[in-house]
Subunit: 279 residues, 2 copies
């Protein structure tokens, strides 16, 4: 039985997505709930669980920084699956609430629904919580006169006996989140993408250009570039490159080795299949 | 009297930094407190205030997404000053508290102090608030037996009669935040940097490489590249380029126009001086 860690409590978008991913995995999977993304990844690194399932990017809000920063700092983690998961945000409250005065949710969905909230609930207090499922729990424990509502998945609301005020309240319907499954070892023989992380010399003008040149010359398709602070000083960055594997493997590896020579350090987090969830 | 909006309440890092910036400005300045970064920028755009002072990047935690996203979506805002502000985080509590059970702060300082918290307060509940100053207020209103503490600036703690538990608790001493002053018009004749924002065709392999080529060929120094989701669909991005102005202005403008031709759209947010605060 494979132990897979993820961000809880029950009813988070992470849990729904992890349940979906299970059917694509070779092993039987037991889901283990953690309260922080960082704890999930540390537990994989320390061998306490077999894999971790963590969000890496949302199409409206961008990167999940703690995931990128942890992947950049470890030498023991590999990406073994990517899942693209459509996000549906609901506004849910206790039956009987007539006026909504407080809205609870995680910071990401709050940002994803900013326009909706400004238009429909300009006077409501917006309170951020550690997860959407936690927001639903808080609302379930509130009194009717508190006027509390949660932005959460339909499942999280229902698990807490909440009723729907509005469905699909995100500002933009093109709302999906990419998740990574992360393990200590990558046994994938094939994959759709490779993730490369490197630090390049920020003081050298054109350093990034020279890196991209290695990919462009070999027609390696880069589907994403992201930067994060190197945490050394302002102006020094770590770069993340998602590369497609649809070219000759030898040429792809050659480009990675050429980039390694131009980098302060480089990590190859392995190749992995990409699954786009249909739901 | 120039009206400058910023994120409150009193005692935020933003307020301290804004007070510092005032002495570099030509006009007398009145500070106007808002509760959200988005509200500050909207008020400038709508002409309700003359300028906005907002954080754009922290050296440990990276970009302030709401600032970047709002700048990318407006046609009316220009960057007129940049301030680099060293951040000192304190852990502060009510006099008499002996055991710390709950720690309140904004999500950014919580991330900046993650290792410190894990090592020193592994059992404490971490609760995110809308600002560091709000965290200090909540702690001031708590009871001694609640064991509440705030991560905030020394000034925010003192404004709320809190006492210091520990100073400089951020995981890395190289902690500073860049702020932008934003106005509707940019009258700067000179500046240290230019900010360019553009959307490029994500489907075209090597599109970013071709953009960087325009800068590299002309020896334009790029001090920062950042990407944010275009909010159209997963995999489409907007790019932010900080360019140094220490070359011939004609050549710099030429590179920007060449990039404009290769972009779906491009905005030039103007040139601005960079002030590094000494404190």
């Amino acid at each position: 039985m494979k132990k897979m860690g993820l961000l809880g409590p029950k009813g988070t978008h992470s849990e729904e997505a992890a349940i979906y991913l299970k059917k694509f995995l070779a092993d039987e999977v037991e889901l283990i709930i953690f309260s922080e993304i960082f704890e999930v990844l540390s537990a994989v690194e320390e061998g306490k669980i077999d894999s971790g399932f963590v969000p890496v990017e949302n199409s409206l809000e961008g990167s999940i920084n703690i995931t990128l920063d942890t992947l950049a700092r470890t030498d023991f983690l590999q990406v073994t699956h990517e899942l693209i998961w459509p996000i549906h945000n609901y506004l849910m409250t206790k039956a009987g609430v007539t006026e909504i005065k407080k809205i609870f949710s995680h910071a990401q969905p709050i940002s994803q629904c900013r326009k909706y909230l400004r238009k429909n609930f300009p006077g409501a207090e917006i309170i951020s919580t550690s997860s959407t499922a936690r927001a639903a729990e808080i609302v379930a424990q509130s009194e009717i006169f508190d006027g509390a509502a949660a932005i959460c998945s339909k499942r999280a609301g229902e698990l807490n006996n909440l009723v729907e005020v509005a469905a699909e309240i995100q500002d933009n319907l093109a709302n999906s989140t990419r998740f990574f499954e992360v393990e200590r070892e990558n046994k994938n023989l094939r994959g759709d993408k490779v993730l490369i992380i490197c630090q390049i010399d920020g003081k050298k003008s054109g350093a990034l250009y020279e890196i991209l040149e290695e990919f462009a010359l070999r027609k390696v398709n880069m589907t994403r570039i992201e930067s994060r602070p190197a945490r050394t000083k302002l102006g020094e960055y770590i770069f993340f490159f998602d590369l497609e594997t649809d070219i000759d493997e030898k040429i792809l590896n050659e480009s990675v080795e050429a980039v390694r020579k131009k980098s302060i350090w480089l990590k190859n987090l392995g190749k992995f299949p990409v699954i786009a969830a249909q739901k």
